[in-house]
Symmetry: C2
Subunit: 388 residues, 2 copies
């Protein structure tokens, strides 16, 4: 009796990242090459993660590759981006196999992949970055590819631009590159999470709204129509990249905070300058800016806001300012879900002073449905928890 | 018994103007020289006007010049801008007097000036443009200056930049000029009101809000801090000026509407890109944009929004589209003051269809406290109604 063919299996989790210098605009829409470099903070997988199991086996033949995402079968053939990632990974595996004939021919076996996110779609977080990073990392592990995260980031980038930054932990730059084939458009670790582990991120989820224009479509409108966009690409972003890398290197939160807010504003400025205009921010978003400004006061930055292609504020702050930042917001948003169990050390200035809420505070309190407390975290992690 | 000295007197009304290519940024803050040209529509003085009476007399000596604005005595000596206008006008009069010794020496007499606006401060309209235009026009008439409106616009500009455009009717450009002394930074009529008399403007007054940063302070923040501003000045505005003059020349409302909205968006984009960021628009403003977009639909522009340094939408449309534009807005905002007596020809699509309001429509309806219906109008007019 012949033994049944082996099923090869590998599972990984991958993190969400939130950019502090934003990716907005493609110079090549097929290869996902950006018009400018960007930089993000990788968030802890203890809080937010995509979890993917990749398996392959000769026994799966003649069935085609399959992918189940959050319990729903996906049509891989309809996703050029997924196909591009699978093709690149198989090609790297095939090279290993042709160099060493003792290796099993995994590249020729059908894949069965399952993936799920631990955060609700309603959270409005772009799941594609964590999802494609997990997909690429899981298959690279399955195939025992010796490639570095930088090299794998070239593949993940083709799945979703910002996915390339989710292959590393800590503070990660995506270098735009200049090559036409995209061979130098990859992610690079600026500093590991351990370099500046005190960084926290508080995601405020705005109550469900009609979905605005997708970022993929929106950024192309900006590239085509905004006069101001060229300045952002040529002047603003290079300056912000330099300053942000300095801020991280020197653990300078004052610089980090100002550049984070200014880059977000610059990004949403070119959105507004697009035609038709793109407004991702709503009154709740603007109220969050005012509340952050009020917490900061005039002299010093305790926290910084940033917004992706949607209305949800993400607020960065250091652990040392948690009592001030998280404490203030927790009192204001005590009624929404997502807060960790309370602990000592939080001042509650609003409740204590019994002062009347400002208009911005009222708007924020009424417009947020949940919070997600997170912090800087590490790279994708192999796990023995398999979904298949 | 000696006859008592003559009191010389002249009165004028001057119009409000609403820019469709915006003035934002000074290259010289003393001379009020702008970083870019701008273009506005002069609104009818039947709807909105400043009314000024200028008098002078030898008998006023030795009292100094005086100005009463909306019933309140103003400290002329504290207003460098007013002083600059009075000095320039006296200087022109003095030249006439030295060339013709038969002229009374009005330039040496104290001035008594009274001015009032027919629109409430709460309307949030910049009153300085109409006010300085009326001041300059009234004194120029009092002094019987032979100077053209273009020449007088050099003086009004020193009072308030946009005041130079209120010295003419119809469609008016303010040429930025290149001279350091500002001698070529003046207003110029692009077309009189009679060239395109169908242009209407509907001002939606947003319920009282805390005053944002003043335009004088705000524009200097933008000049100093916005990376994107240079693109607006060097590329966007020159393009918009050319297109807008073409739109007016050819009475092309499609082009007029698109450039009007894009220029307003570009202006508010550079405000957002400033540091600290400037947000003149609130959720009511953005709701007005969405409602305008809904009225326009996809194929054709029936109306165009524009916003100055504040949240109030101004909506331009042609008389032929009044049923559609004014009709729609009148149903939505039937509860606010300012509408003229109803007349036939208005469709009432919202009421007729009984459809549910969109979120934008609800926000707009709840956030507007009054409307002002106006239209393109003429230059300042001499009047025999004297305030003194």
């Amino acid at each position: 009796m012949a033994s049944s063919p082996t099923i090869y299996r590998s599972s990984t989790t991958a993190p969400v990242n939130i950019a502090v210098v934003k990716y907005w605009g493609k110079r090549d829409t097929v290869l996902n090459l950006p018009t400018n470099s960007s930089l993000s903070v990788t968030l802890s997988q203890g809080d937010l993660r995509a979890h993917t199991t990749a398996t392959c086996s000769e026994s799966y033949s003649p069935q085609p590759d399959s992918l189940v995402l959050n319990g729903q079968p996906e049509d891989i053939q309809a996703s050029k981006r997924t196909l591009a990632c699978l093709l690149s990974l198989r090609s790297l595996r095939a090279k290993l196999e042709s160099a060493d004939s003792s290796l099993p021919k995994l590249s020729s076996y059908p894949l069965r992949i399952a993936s799920k996110n631990n955060f609700p779609t309603a959270a409005g977080l772009a799941s594609s970055a964590a999802g494609f990073a997990a997909l690429v990392r899981a298959i690279a592990d399955l195939y025992e590819l010796p490639h570095t995260p930088e090299q794998l980031s070239l593949i993940a980038r083709q799945g979703s631009g910002s996915a390339c930054r989710s292959l590393m932990g800590g503070y990660v730059a995506w270098r735009a590159g200049i090559q036409e084939d995209g061979s130098d458009s990859m992610a690079q670790e600026v500093a590991p999470a351990s370099h500046w582990p005190e960084m926290r991120a508080l995601i405020l989820v705005v109550s469900a709204e009609k979905k605005a224009i997708s970022s993929t479509a929106g950024m192309q409108v900006t590239v085509k129509t905004s006069d101001l966009f060229k300045s952002r690409v040529e002047q603003t972003v290079p300056k912000h990249m330099t300053l942000m890398e300095q801020a991280i290197r020197e653990r300078d939160f004052q610089l980090f905070a100002e550049v984070t807010m200014r880059d977000s504003n610059s990004f949403h400025a070119v959105c507004r300058d697009s035609w038709p205009p793109i407004d991702y921010l709503n009154d709740v978003s603007l109220a969050a800016c005012r509340v952050v400004e009020a917490i900061n006061g005039d002299g010093k930055y305790y926290c910084a806001y940033t917004f992706d292609a949607g209305p949800n504020p993400v607020i960065y702050y250091l652990e040392g300012a948690a009592a001030k930042v998280e404490g203030t917001l927790r009192v204001l948003l005590h009624h929404v879900e997502g807060w960790p169990p309370s602990h000592a050390g939080f001042t509650q200035p609003l409740a204590e002073s019994g002062k009347e809420l400002t208009k911005a505070e009222r708007t924020l309190a009424a417009g947020i449905s949940r919070v997600i407390c997170s912090r800087v975290g590490g790279a994708p992690e192999r796990t023995s928890e398999h979904l298949l």
